[in-house]
Amino acid sequence: MVAVLDDSFSSFASPQKRRRPLAVALACHYLLEALAGDYHGLWLSRRDDPLQARPTGPTPLGRRVIDALERRPGLLVIVSDGWDNAPPGLACEVLRVWRRRLDPAREVGIVHLDPVYDAERFEVRRLSPVVPTAGIRDAEDLPALVELARFAEGRSGAAELRAYLAERAARALEAR
């Protein structure tokens, strides 16, 4: 599994909730590291130490997605606010070409998790129409959201989703 994690300047988010998107990305990094056996986290700024993450720089998401796809992961998780600006729209094009030309069988599952709610659109900002996007508020929702995204993409059926949700509900009730 590979994750592309956004630590561009826009992950500063708002003055009211400072650095929340960055914190979510950081939490996702550690969560995936613990959950997935084979995991690589790729930060946009190309920093190695996640604890040094700071919200700086542009969002060259397209190039970083190519870096991630080169590793041929089973699942690619992109945690970003979707403001792909260096250059704009490159990530969308990369994902489109990847899906259409290089991986039409969908061997690599791709999920976009967006920690920032776009108030103007009343939804989270999508990265690409060919990739499911789910809003993520707390990092611990990540497994459920990835599962939901797989359903949205048609990779799992309704029965699997029901079973998964029932299991989650049961666990939540047990915890109480």
Binding site: S8, F9, S10, F12, A13, S14, P15, T56, G57, P58, T59, G62, R63, I66, L69, E70, W83, N85, A86, P87, P88, G89, L90, C92, E93, V94, R96, V97, W98, R100, R101, L102
Partner: protein, 494 residues
Amino acid sequence: MIDLTGLETRPAQTWGALRLVPLVRRAPIEDLRLHAKVYGDELSVVTLPDRSLYTAYVPHAFVASWTADGTPAAAYGTQLGQPLRHVPIRIRRRMARRADKHRLRFLPLHLAVEGFLALHFGGPETAWDEWSRQALAHGLSPRIEEAYSGAEVRGLEDALKVFEIHPGQCGLLLYAGDTLATAFVVPHPEDYRALHPTLVRDMYGDLIHEYALYYPARDFTAELDADAIGSLADLREAAARVEREWAEFHDSVMAAGPLGAPDRVTPPPRSASPRPSWGCGSRGPGSGTCCGRTSWTATARRSVTAAGVLVEAAQHRRQHEREHPDVRDEHEHAAVDGARPQQREQRHGRGEHDRAHLQRRRPAVPAHSHPRGHADGHVERHRQIPQLGLLGVREAEAGGGAEHADEEHPGEHRDDHFDVVEGEPAPVAAGTGGGGGRRHVPTVAAGVRRGQGRRPDMSGNLGSRSAGPTVEPWTDDGSSWWRTRRPSCSTSPA
């Protein structure tokens, strides 16, 4: 002409109609540094020669540091305020002033505008000495300007995250509605990082907000040819090509005007310069185009900024458009009444004179200063100007044609606000001008208090007899920098 040598273009970032094109420097300039000097909330008060006061709010200046031997100079970084509680009013001297040995404090707009004027409104060669002495000693004609702090613009703070700073970024080209509004380049990336917020918030706050909200522009989104891509390596190569193509597109198309324009426009022969009519070509109810995009384009195409701005601000249109028709009448009146200029001048007073400047076809930079000799022969002075060929220069700048000259005027005229803001008072001459001696109390619009939505940052009644700044030459040999050097995109004084 703008020279982007040493600077590389990065993909633009778009918000509304605003497009910020980052400029990245591979090797920063180490021996010239800039940092912002924040002036806080207090008002600046400058005493004018006629004993009136000019009051303004100036958000910040820049301070340039350099060393004579080329060794690195450390900037102190952004100065966050001064201990000013016991000094509520700051009385400043010149616009550009040596702050220390090898340090110069200047107002960014001022430097840009001075450089621009020196390059493109140099006046006729034959009258250069006289003209420059007057204009530089006494500044340009007075006006009233409003600016809004970007911090007061709702939503701007959040939106600033769209404009992300690239590693090594030393400047930007700002496009509003895909028209070049400004080029801003500093020597060092750290300086840019420190100055970026002041640039966006203090210089263009309301401009950015207005264009972002009401004139949306679309992103130039990347497009890849899926059929030509057969492998991941192809995909990577195509992505890199998209980035290159964007930079080429910007440099060759979007910035083609400033990058390719001649740095000097040859004035046409004097006989060929048509005598202009007084009217404004696009004048009419609701048409603000004389201050609008047409003139902006024409101005920006041939503009040079040293470290700042040439912006045809939207607020100018709002502010003056009502007055434009009036000015024509004033001038027609003057033409008829010109036989007795002194009487008319005294009768009408300074209020009308202010307005008359706004639409004048004569040079944006008056060749004759107002404070002195104003009442004796004012009309006569202006009539001499076309004969000197100054008008011909202006029309060449505007691309020829009387309409252009008219449309550009507000833009040029706007520039000298910044001169007046901090102009050092010239030596007070006894009995200056015809109406001198009257104390002119500055009027500052209400709402200066912190926290109000609109802050009259640079307002204040300037009066008609205020003198502009005296721009002191600061090169070591005493020669004027605007003559010895042409400002380039970078601000190196060396």
